[in-house]
Symmetry: none
DNA sequence: ATTTTGAAGGTCAAAAAAAGTCAAAAATAT
DNA sequence: ATATTTTTGACTTTTTTTGACCTTCAAAAT
């Protein structure tokens, strides 16, 4: 028998449909519908709606909370997705970061101001840690920023 | 469903509008309008209209009492310097960062895209470290980004 | 002038409403 | 058999909502 996760995945993809590239759901509600543990929803989201499959998740807890699934427009974000999924690994040197950011700026994917912000955030001064950890941290910071830029490539 | 607090926040911001920097409301009246406990109003005021977000609250009890919401007018340069020199210390929590960035965006010091980038760079996901170090790292990253913004502010 | 009183707003902690984490158990696949 | 994937559940964290009780003020009553 097909696993539940596949059904849940299909359901969410149906919600997104053709025209919409963003949908909000309530974790508990969805879990209720599928008669499964709420954490099952989390599982599906974290295995099937990952950046390397072209999705990003946002969420909010508490009253009125939600989980938002955003599908990235792949055509626009190709280079970004390459950087996010391939080029950035567990560690990125300051030099590499500068090169990547420069490319994004040249390609008009980010403005010069945004590029400057990204350089600042990934600079050696921003990240004051032993060198071993520095490059690891930079990878995380850069990746999240790129994901954010990719997120904005959804409409238009 | 969106939480009531968001509606109440929006309502008060609409009351303030563009031209007005100050508005008086009656707590009980507002609570009546939104059919909620009066302390809910207090909750919204104390979480959304804080000095950090650029507001100050005054109030008076007793007959004819009121709550006055005042939006502060600070120059952009002042605000940046305050954040860099006063507000950011050795350590900044994720929530504090979000509030500061939101404030920068509302004051038009950074664009919404830039704000999103800054949120990404300072998010918990970007910085994967033991909590103790996390807040320290975030302070560094945020400070460098603000310095960058300040730099551009001066040039313009 | 003093005391009452009712009409405000304030405080604080508990309850409720979400979502997240993590590891163990169960089911599948190799 | 072993490894991987799925499923579950107990526990945590965050955010909102409510209610019971407290304080303050101004006006009316003494």
């Amino acid at each position: 028998m097909k696993p539940l996760s596949d059904d849940i995945e299909a359901f969410i993809k149906a919600l997104l449909g053709e025209d919409q590239d963003q949908v909000d759901v309530q974790r508990n509600e969805l879990a209720g519908y599928f008669r499964c543990a709420p954490s099952q929803i989390t599982y599906v989201l974290s295995t099937r709606f990952t950046p390397d499959r072209g999705y990003v998740i946002e969420s909010r807890r508490g009253g009125g909370g939600f989980v938002r699934i955003v599908r990235l427009k792949k055509t626009k974000a190709d280079h970004l997705l390459y950087l996010i999924n391939q080029r950035i690994g567990a560690s990125v040197s300051a030099q590499d970061a500068i090169v990547m950011i420069q490319q994004l700026s040249e390609q008009g994917i980010v403005s010069e101001r945004e590029a400057a912000l990204m350089r600042a955030a990934t600079s050696a001064r921003a990240i004051s840690l032993p060198i071993a950890l520095k490059d690891t941290l930079r990878a995380g910071v850069l990746r999240e920023m790129l994901l954010q830029v990719a997120l904005e490539q959804k409409e238009a």
